[in-house]
Amino acid sequence: MKRITPFLLLLTILLSACSAIAGKANPSPASFDINDWDSVVAAAKGQTVNWYLWGGSESINSFVDTFYGKALKDRYGITLHRVPVADTVDAVNQVLSEKQAGKDPGAVDLIWINGANFLSLKQANLLYPDWANKLPNSQLVNWDNPAINRDFGTPVDNLESPWSSAQFQFIYDSARLSPAELPRSYAQLKEWVIEHPGRFTYIAPGPGAFQGTRFVKGALFEISGGADQWSTFDQATWDQWSPELWKYLNELKPYLWRNGETYPKDENELHSLFANQEVDFSITQAAVGAGALIEQGLVPATSKAFVFDQYMIGDFNYVAIPANAPNKAAALVLANLILDPALQAAQILPENGFGLGYGIDINRVTDPAALAKLQDAAKKLGDAATSPADLAKSLAGDSDAQYQNLVETGWRQNVLVSSK
């Protein structure tokens, strides 16, 4: 036993050294009053904001670091710690696990979020309440728009603040297809797919792949003849139409890429299939259409976006603050900064790599210089984007969040697994 004593001693020293490093004290939560913005800014100074967001896109990562990281440091003395997650659900889980373990303060200050993930945290009462309308830049947000004040049908209730807008679109390669050949509805898509076996697929609906879910929901809207009935949850409506939906998708299945035995699991896998000519269409949510993807080198330079005539689901995405966030003041400052007109203008430009649409309503911007910037940026979207008129014409709101899970699990059981 004597022999191990020195080792034990060394171990203890090492371990305690480690915990000293690891336990670098959380900054004491400086107090602030949410109604007094100056006190928020003062409390945020010197804090580090831990922003959990999907990290799969290098260009979005660098946009966040360049545009928000720098501005936070220079203007507010806040350090941005961007925590890339493979799926937003990981961030939600982190907060849920912290609740399980009773950990307060936790690790997460801000999450890029919407839809089912927002619903999870809202239902579990894990979000910091009553702040979104208190941000100074909140006046630029059109809170009367149901697409903003409801997130997948769930009332936002000032628990999250918008970042950007997105709308479902398809991408085609103008070097391969002409606009006249493009399908303009789900019915036409079926004809096209049957004529071109193996050349189309969509993203497997599921957590982390909401674009796939959205493709399927669009089909549900068209089959049932309208989007409006889906904005509130009704089991009977679902039971009535879902068999039709599975029927449609199963009719597509044998003509899909790899005969529908498998599906790309996310947007990027589909982009790669599209870029390598395995399929002829991809899917995007970006205001710039294929623009940002071309910039990133993910799709050919001749790629363009297009929409069907109807049922292209659009929505907003948000940032939310967990109730146990350690640096709430800094998170508030960041959420406010995101709505800054100059940064909103920067976020839609293809060359900056983010490429989603405005979260603010540019009609509410009064500062002429800022307004000019926003209008100017909108003109520079390039010809890889869908025209704003087409986007507006085809826009449909998303369905109630409760349908999300039904569509995803139902699709797995009735389309993916089913051998029909």
Binding site: M1, I4, F7, L8, L11, V89, D90, V92, N93, L96, S97, K99, Q100, A116, N117, S120, L121, G198, A204, G206, P207, W257, R258, E261, T262, Y263, K265, S272, L273, N276, Q277, E278, T409, R412, Q413, L416, V417
Partner: protein, 282 residues
């Protein structure tokens, strides 16, 4: 001794206890305060959600682990026997190369296979260059396929070196004389291999193969990268349910993970029996 036992035993033991508690519905952040077998029931016989996927996943996992193990063992034998006949610097280099293969993390290996074997990967491009195929769809599906061939290729190429080195160690620890005696008694090289060499190394090979089986059965990274949305291998299924924001699914994920652990422990126990027969080779 004491610190190691304390550290490993505590961490490992506690992780199992906490895991068990969670699979029984405790500590999962829900309001449940009593033990419940609901998660296991859902997993083993549920009619929706996890229940519909568990058995296909188990079958798929057994298939992948079984085939990978058999092919690795079959591939490792000739490599080891061959290497045993090499000598000098060449042999040292070759042994080092095997070790190097082992040092490649599985994750990186999987990515390499994906970039190489996919329908628009380098191999498909070569086929297109040679005019064998026109479209990516003409190229056979080798990764992310229904049979899990991509996953199997990954494991086989990585486990052959592992098993070869184990068999090599067994070969080297055997006295050369048996082989010489057999040759003197007129055995052909083939007979020598079957009746002398093989029985000597079989216990080590079986023991090592079972470890490979246990590893393949329970590893996450490779099926996560090279797998399909359905069927999924058990570890992928387990983490997916564990990470579900609906806390009720956590217990199910944990239950699957413990089932995996139980299977692995049984396989490891059998492996140990063979290892004893092979002599103390740790």
């Amino acid at each position: 001794m004491a610190p190691a036992i304390l550290l490993v035993g505590t961490l490992f033991g506690v992780s199992l206890i906490y895991g068990l508690a969670q699979s029984l519905g405790l500590l999962t952040g829900t309001d449940q305060r009593t033990l419940s077998m609901a998660a296991y029931q859902n997993v083993l016989s549920g009619s929706e959600g996890v229940g519909t996927e568990f058995w296909p996943s188990l079958g798929f996992s057994l298939w992948i682990a079984g085939v990978s193990t058999l092919l690795s063992a079959a591939g490792a034998l000739p490599v080891a026997v061959w290497l045993n006949h090499q000598s000098g610097r060449g042999r040292q280099m070759d042994t080092l190369a095997l070790n190097w293969n082992l040092a490649f993390p599985h994750l990186v290996w999987a990515i390499g296979l994906l970039l190489f074997f996919s329908q628009s990967g380098l191999l498909a491009r070569l086929a297109a260059l040679l005019g064998w195929i026109q479209n990516p769809a003409d190229f056979p599906v080798l990764v992310r396929d229904r049979l899990g061939m991509g996953i199997i290729v990954d494991y086989v190429t990585k486990e052959i070196p592992f098993l070869a080195l184990i068999v090599l160690a067994a070969l080297r620890s055997q006295p050369e004389d048996y082989g010489v005696v057999a040759t003197n008694l007129g055995a052909t090289p083939w007979q020598r291999l079957c009746y002398v060499t093989l029985p000597q190394i079989l216990p080590s090979l079986i023991s090592g193969s079972l470890l490979v089986f246990a590893f393949v059965f329970s590893a996450y990274e490779v099926p996560a990268v090279l797998g399909m949305p359905y069927p999924r291998m058990l570890p992928v299924l387990a983490l997916d349910f564990f990470a579900n924001p609906d806390l009720h699914h956590r217990a199910e994920g944990m239950a699957i993970s413990l089932i995996i652990a139980a299977v692995v422990m049984v396989v490891a126990a059998i492996s140990l029996r063979y290892e004893k027969r092979a002599g103390y080779s740790q």
